[in-house]
C-alpha cells in the first residue's frame, strides 16, 4: 500500500476549514505526540489535527481517503502497545478537545459522550448524579474513545464486566467520511451483525469513534475493600477460584506483591498501610445495604483465612479506600520509575491458571536474570507483567526481551490464554497475536478491515496488516 506524504496542497485544504491553532505541521508538532506511555519507539506524524466535531472528522477522513494519507486517531496517549503511534506518518487526529458530556438520560440510564472525555471526568459526572460508570482501568486520564478502542477492562470487571458491556451505541466516521450510528439506546439487539461490537477493541483501524452512548448503573450505596495479606503469592492466588465459587460476588480481586508496594511507596512518597507480608489480595464488595455487603465480605475474609491468609484488613472508609486504591492505580508508573526502561505483557488466562503462570514468571526471572514484577486482576485472569531493563545494554535488553516475551506468550497459549486482556495489540503485540490466532483467523480480520477501510488509511500496520 503506498501513501502520500502530507504536502502544502493538503495543508491548504485543511486550513480552509480548520483554524491555525488546531493544525500543526512538521516541526510545530510537539514530541509528546510521537509516543505513548510505554512503547520505546518514537514516531512523528506529518500533520497533527485537533478536531472538535464529527463533521471535522468526516471532512478530514474523506479527504485523507481520497488522497491516500494515513490517519491515526489519538486520545490522551495513555496506551501501552503503540496503538496511537503514527507508524506510517500521515495525519494524527487528536480527539481530546471533543471532551463534552452531551446528555445524561436518567430514564434509560445512559450518558452520551464525545470521545475525548476523560474516564475520570465521566466517573465523577456519573457519581455526582448517583450513578456509576463501572469500567475502571487504573489509568483514569485515558479518554473514553481510547477505552472503547482497546475494550478497556479494569478492576471492577469481575462483577461488572468491561467497556464493551457498557457501550449502548456508537456514532462513527468511516474512512470515506460517512457518519453511521451503530445500535442505539437499547438493551438487547439481534439486528444483524453487531457492527458496534466490531468497532469496540478495533484500535482505530476500522472507523473513528465520534460519539458514544454508554450505560450507567445506580451507584452502590456501600463499598468495602479488604486487603488480605499472605505469606506468599501462591497461597494468595490459590484463594481466587474459591472466592469466585463462594458466591460472595466480589467486584474486584486484585493481587499484588510486596516489592510492587515498595516501588509504589517510593514513587508516591507516601506509605502503604501494610507491607509486612510478601503477597496481598485486594478484594472489593459493593451493594446497597451495609449489612448485605458485610455478610459477603466477612464470608470472603473467613474463607481466605481458612485457606492460609494471615488476616483481612478492612478498608471501609473514603480515606482508607483512597490510600489503598490510589496506590493500586499507581503500580504501573511505580514499576516504570523503578527501572530504566520496561515493556509489558498483558496476557489473560483461564482464572485457574494464574498461580501457575506467576510461578512460571518467577522461574524465568531466575533463568534469564531479569526482573519481572507483576500485578493484576486475579479475578479475571488478566495479568500485567513487566520486563525491566535495569542495567542491561542495548543488545542484551533486545535479546532477553525477545526470548522472555517468546517464552511467556508460548506458555500463556499452552494454558489457553490470549495475548491481551485489556491493553490491546497495537503494533507491539501483532506477531504474538498471529502466533496465537493463526493465519485463518487473521485472514477473517483482514477481510473485515478491507470492508471498512479498503484503502487502508486508518491506523495502518496495527492489529492486522492488509497487503
Amino acid at each position: 500500500m503506498s501513501y502520500q506524504k502530507v504536502n502544502e496542497r493538503h495543508l491548504d485544504y485543511f486550513k480552509s476549514f480548520l483554524p491555525a491553532d488546531r493544525l500543526f505541521y512538521g516541526d510545530a508538532i510537539s514530541e509528546d505526540y510521537s509516543h505513548d506511555e510505554l512503547v520505546g519507539e518514537k514516531m512523528m506524524p506529518e500533520l497533527l489535527i485537533r478536531v472538535t466535531s464529527t463533521e471535522e472528522i468526516s471532512r478530514v477522513l474523506a479527504y485523507a481517503n481520497a488522497e491516500r494519507i494515513p490517519v491515526t486517531t489519538r486520545g490522551s496517549g495513555t496506551g501501552l502497545v503503540g496503538g496511537a503511534l503514527p507508524v506510517m506518518g500521515g495525519i494524527l487526529l487528536e480527539t481530546t478537545l471533543m471532551n463534552r458530556i452531551l446528555d445524561c438520560d436518567e430514564e434509560d440510564f445512559t450518558v452520551t459522550v464525545q470521545p475525548g472525555v476523560l474516564l475520570m471526568d465521566l466517573q465523577q459526572y456519573a457519581s455526582d448524579r448517583g450513578y456509576m460508570y463501572p469500567p475502571d482501568p487504573g489509568e483514569k486520564t485515558g479518554t473514553i474513545g481510547g477505552n472503547i478502542s482497546t475494550n478497556a477492562g479494569g478492576m471492577r470487571a469481575v462483577k461488572y464486566g468491561v467497556t464493551r458491556d457498557y457501550v449502548r451505541s456508537l456514532t462513527v466516521v468511516l474512512p470515506d467520511g460517512r457518519v453511521e450510528t451503530f445500535s442505539g439506546k437499547v438493551v438487547k439487539n439481534s439486528t444483524g451483525y453487531s457492527l458496534k461490537d466490531l468497532i469496540i477493541g478495533s484500535e482505530g483501524t476500522l472507523a473513528v469513534v465520534a460519539e458514544a452512548v454508554l450505560k450507567l448503573v445506580p451507584q452502590p450505596a456501600c463499598t468495602v475493600s479488604l486487603l488480605i495479606p499472605f505469606a506468599d503469592i501462591d497461597s494468595a492466588l490459590r484463594c481466587v477460584p474459591e472466592l469466585i465459587r463462594s458466591g460472595t460476588g466480589p467486584t474486584a480481586i486484585e493481587f499484588m506483591t510486596r516489592n510492587v508496594i515498595l516501588f509504589t511507596e517510593e514513587y508516591l512518597g507516601s506509605r502503604f498501610p501494610d507491607k509486612n507480608h510478601d503477597a496481598y489480595l485486594l478484594l472489593t464488595y459493593d451493594g446497597n445495604s451495609a449489612e448485605a455487603v458485610e455478610a459477603n465480605w466477612t464470608r470472603a475474609a473467613d474463607l481466605c483465612i481458612e485457606m492460609g491468609a494471615v488476616d483481612a484488613l478492612i478498608v471501609d472508609t473514603e480515606e482508607r479506600q483512597s490510600v489503598v486504591w490510589t496506590a493500586r492505580g499507581a503500580f504501573l508508573e511505580a514499576i516504570k520509575g523503578s527501572t530504566t526502561e520496561m515493556d509489558e505483557c498483558d496476557v489473560v488466562l483461564p482464572r485457574t491458571r494464574v498461580a501457575e503462570y506467576i510461578r512460571f514468571t518467577h522461574e524465568l526471572e531466575r533463568e534469564y536474570d531479569i526482573r519481572l514484577p507483576s500485578f493484576g486482576h486475579a479475578g479475571d485472569g488478566n495479568l500485567h507483567i513487566y520486563l525491566c531493563r535495569d542495567g542491561m545494554d542495548d543488545a542484551s535488553w533486545a535479546e532477553r526481551k525477545e526470548t522472555v516475551f517468546g517464552r511467556m506468550y508460548t506458555r500463556a497459549f499452552e494454558m489457553g490464554g490470549l495475548v491481551s486482556g485489556e491493553h490491546g495489540v497495537g503494533f507491539a503485540k501483532r506477531r504474538y497475536m498471529l502466533e496465537r490466532l493463526g493465519e485463518d483467523q487473521l485472514a477473517l480480520m483482514r477481510g473485515i478491515k478491507r470492508v471498512f477501510d479498503p484503502n487502508n488509511i486508518l491506523n495502518p500496520n496495527k492489529v492486522c496488516e492488509v497487503d
Partner: protein, 262 residues
C-alpha cells in the same frame, strides 16, 4: 509506656446536610465513622507502644453507638477502651466536653502520654485536645508532626506551626494533638475484630467521676452556645487581577476589607 488516645465518632460522609430550619447537623440516618484525624493519633500511639513497649487505651464521649468507633480502635490494635456516656453530657461545648474527657481520663488510669487528633471533621474547633491538658494540668503540644525522642526525661516533638517548625521538649505526662497526614494509619484487622472481648470496653457515666458538680457537664457546663450552623454560600464569581505582588496585595486587602472578611 501507658498511652491514651481520645477519639470521636463523626458522620461518615464529609458532606453532611444542615437542617435549614434548626441549623443542626442532620446526623440521623447518616452512617458514622471514626474521625479521620484521630486515625493519625491512634497510629502514632501504636507505633510508640511497639517501639518503646507499652499499651494503648482509647476513650470517647458519646452515645451508646459510639462504642462502634471504640471497637474499631480495638481492631486497629488498642487493648482497652472507655466510653463516657450519659444523657447529662449532652449539649456540651468545648469546655464541658474537655472537662468530661479529663474526668474520664482520671478514672481510666494513669497515662504517660495522651494523644488526640488535630480536630474533628464535624466540630472543627481543634480546641478540645489542648483544653483536656489544661484541665489535667499537664503540658501539651498541638500540630505535632513527629515524636523525635521519648525517654524517662520526657518527650521531644516537632510541631508544624503556621510559619515555623518548632521543636519542643516536655516532661511526662503530656498531651499531643497530632497533625494530619503524619503517618499512614494501619487498617482495622478482621481477626482482632472477631476476637473482640466486651470486657475490654468500659462504659463510664457521670456517677463514676470525682467531680460531681452538675454545672461542669453538658449544656449547664457550657458557657458558649451554638446559635446557628449554616453551610457557606456557594459562589463561583471569578475576578482576575494583574499587577506586581505589592499592587495585588493592596487590591486583595481592600477587597477583603470591603467584603468585611477582615
Amino acid at each position: 509506656m501507658n498511652i491514651l488516645v481520645c477519639i470521636k465518632q463523626v458522620p461518615s460522609s464529609n458532606n453532611v446536610e444542615v437542617d435549614p430550619e434548626t441549623g443542626v447537623l442532620k446526623r440521623e440516618g447518616a452512617s458514622a465513622k471514626l474521625n479521620p484525624y484521630d486515625l493519625f493519633a491512634i497510629e502514632t500511639a501504636l507505633e510508640l507502644a511497639e517501639r518503646y513497649g507499652g499499651r494503648v487505651t482509647t476513650l470517647t464521649m458519646g452515645p451508646n453507638q459510639a462504642a462502634k468507633a471504640l471497637e474499631e480502635t480495638l481492631a486497629m490494635g488498642a487493648e482497652e477502651a472507655y466510653l463516657l456516656s450519659d444523657r447529662r453530657f449532652a449539649g456540651a461545648d468545648v469546655l464541658a466536653t474537655s472537662h468530661t474527657l479529663a474526668e474520664g481520663i482520671r478514672m481510666a488510669g494513669n497515662f504517660d502520654l495522651i494523644l488526640t487528633g488535630k480536630q474533628t471533621t464535624d466540630g472543627d474547633t481543634a480546641q478540645v485536645g489542648p483544653e483536656i491538658a489544661e484541665h489535667l494540668g499537664i503540658p501539651h503540644a498541638a500540630n505535632v508532626e513527629a515524636v523525635l525522642a521519648l525517654d524517662g526525661e520526657g518527650i521531644t516533638v516537632r510541631m508544624q506551626l503556621e510559619t515555623v517548625l518548632q521543636t519542643q521538649h516536655m516532661p511526662l505526662p503530656a498531651l499531643l494533638s497530632m497533625d494530619k497526614d503524619v503517618n499512614t494509619p494501619r487498617l482495622p484487622s478482621y481477626l482482632r475484630r472477631k476476637a473482640f472481648d466486651p470486657s475490654k470496653l468500659h462504659v463510664l457515666s457521670r456517677d463514676d467521676f470525682a467531680d460531681q458538680s452538675e454545672r461542669r457537664y453538658g449544656l449547664a457546663g457550657s458557657p458558649t452556645q451554638v446559635e446557628r450552623i449554616f453551610p457557606p454560600e456557594g459562589n463561583t464569581e471569578q475576578t482576575i487581577y494583574e499587577g506586581t505582588s505589592d499592587e495585588l496585595a493592596d487590591r486583595l486587602y481592600t477587597l477583603l476589607r470591603t467584603r468585611k472578611f477582615i
